[in-house]
């Protein structure tokens, strides 16, 4: 495994890429809150996309509160939050944002010598849940803030 595929460099990439996805697609600046704990979301929308290859396997989970997911969906679609009445629209936007975040990571991993393929997105909705990694799988949570709202990138990764 090359030096570039150590966990801190993966997290550095993810931080830059998440900021880029939110700025480009949602015109919404987000900033990393280093060391911040996982926010206590009242209700949560989580997008997930898995990736797998010979040298690396894992998944990205993109968490945000349900109200902020609606704001983010409206921003991406160029609408007002109140114009979004369908939960499926919010799910699709969160899934697509997760797909973009994971796609960037996949490309970075492939260019670093760890070829992998990625899954299509899935959505989890709930009030209180945690995603536990499998044994030998590292977990990193990167907490970002946009005004008073939080976005969390939860990375589960196993570097072989």
């Amino acid at each position: 495994m090359t030096q570039t595929l150590q966990l801190p460099s993966v997290c550095d990439f993810m931080t830059r890429h998440l900021v880029d996805v939110f700025e480009t697609m949602l015109s919404m600046p987000v900033a990393l809150r280093p060391g911040a704990p996982m926010p206590d979301f009242d209700s949560r929308v989580t997008g997930s996309v898995g990736f797998a290859g010979d040298k690396v396997t894992g998944a990205i989970y993109l968490h945000m509160s349900a109200p902020f997911a609606q704001i983010a969906a409206a921003a991406m679609l160029g609408l007002k939050p109140e114009e979004i009445s369908d939960e499926n629209e919010v799910n699709d936007v969160v899934g697509e944002a997760t797909n973009m975040v994971t796609g960037g990571l996949k490309s970075w991993l492939c260019d670093s010598g760890a070829e992998c393929a990625m899954s299509t997105p899935a959505i989890i909705r709930g009030k209180s849940f945690a995603i536990e990694p499998m044994p030998d799988v590292a977990r990193e949570c990167l907490v970002f803030a946009h005004e008073e709202n939080f976005v969390v990138v939860e990375l589960h990764i196993k570097l072989n």
């Binding site: 969906a73 699709d92 797909n99 960037g104 492939c110």
Partner: protein, 129 residues
């Protein structure tokens, strides 16, 4: 006559964003949600341009592009790939299949319009008086 653009993406969000990007221009949008459906719509509508996602269920974009280029009636339709995956190997593989251009997600509307404008003669709709 308005140009016809086919957007093939499993995400309704992306199809909406692509449709909005082309709204100020003289073109009609048609849509498909995966490669299999995309081939059917392409054969029926004969679009002037296809904006094609890569990772989709049922049939992915690379498979659709391969089948499109193997079909004498459809192989002349220009394709711009719109992909979340920008890895060197991935881009080289797609380029070899005969794609006209590619755009990596995340993207801005004007980037898509600029690339499409290099392939088809996009014309702005007249501003209402």
């Amino acid at each position: 006559m308005a140009l016809k653009i086919l957007s093939v993406d499993d995400s309704r969000t992306i199809r909406l964003i692509v449709g909005k990007a082309f709204k100020p221009y003289e073109c009609d949008m048609v849509e498909a949600t995966n490669g299999e459906e995309g081939l059917v719509v392409a054969a029926r509508e004969k679009p002037d341009l296809i904006i094609l996602d890569v990772t989709m269920p049922v049939m992915d974009g690379v498979t659709m592009l391969t089948k499109l280029k193997a079909d004498d009636a459809l192989k002349g339709i220009p394709v711009i790939m719109l992909t979340a995956e920008s890895g060197r190997e991935n881009v080289l593989h797609i380029a070899k299949l005969g794609v006209r251009d590619y755009l990596v997600k995340p993207f801005k509307d004007d980037q898509l319009i600029e690339k499409a404008g290099r392939v088809i003669p996009l014309q702005k709709k007249p501003v209402p008086a």
